[in-house]
Symmetry: C2
Subunit: 166 residues, 2 copies
């Protein structure tokens, strides 16, 4: 398992977008040390109109940005999806994230899912459980992040903290 050296003093906000649940993870690298600063899930209510759900995602992400001042936002590239409606809905959430990034002049980096898995587990086809477990090991957490979405977002942030080839 080869791991690239992290870039020094870099804060990355990894985001795993969705309209109902947005996973996020803030990872800071200092020399070769990675620190998990924050992770969690932004949830929106199904009972609200889409626009209000997106506004809520935007507002919570904006708060995260002003709290943690990330140097970049990391997203996963989506190559396939179960269906077009899912892709469009994820796209709407991605649009809100892209706008937050553009307004804050923070660049958005996109990584293939296999690169994200490679970055945390050393294995491009790792499953969600393995990603959760490796996030726990990597950051010496007492337990793995409870949410898949949060663990995925942390993995995306870890990937964004490394000089991985795109």
């Amino acid at each position: 398992m080869s791991r690239r050296m992290p870039i020094s003093n870099l804060t990355v906000l990894g985001v795993d977008p969705g309209i109902g649940r947005v996973g996020y993870g803030v990872v800071r690298s200092h020399g070769s040390t990675l620190t998990l600063v924050a992770c969690g899930v932004i949830e929106t209510s199904k009972r609200l109109p889409v626009g209000q759900r997106l506004a809520s995602i935007r507002n919570e992400l904006t708060t995260l940005m002003s709290t943690h001042h990330p140097h970049r936002i990391a997203l996963e590239k989506l190559y396939f999806s179960k269906n077009v409606t899912t892709a469009m809905t994820v796209g709407e959430a991605r649009g809100a994230i892209q706008l937050v990034a553009a307004d804050a002049r923070v660049p958005v980096m996109e990584y293939a899912p296999s690169h994200v898995k490679q970055a945390v587990t050393g294995y491009g086809n790792a499953d969600k459980r393995q990603v959760q477990r490796m996030v726990q090991v990597l950051f010496k957490l007492k337990a793995a992040p409870r949410s898949d979405d949060a663990a995925d977002a942390v993995a995306i942030a870890v990937c964004g903290s490394h000089r991985l080839p795109l």
Copy 2:
């Protein structure tokens, strides 16, 4: 060809979203009279990052909103797409539009493509040329809107001006 009565004194902004080209049409109804107030296309440069393109779409739509004060925004429901990447990209543009609407507290109505075509041509399977032609006839324009995207957006706004069943 049956056409429902328009709602009185209603301004509708119809939008046909995309990351590179966003068609828009503003239609005002007064009694049974429909007026085309404005239509056109917002274009964004391929050379800009996605976030900046979305910010440009958001800013131009915000200007349209403050110029024309629409009571509602009308969008087409997308049921299928050539591929998932297209659906996601359209989704990103839709996210920006939904945010503009939510911030302005203007409701977004969605219509099936067949309803949109039915509303302007009386025929749910009309092609793009027929939609352009009927937009010209309906508003007694000297020529059809040059852009497909603008004509589609006008058709969506016309659909949103009628009490059509969703």
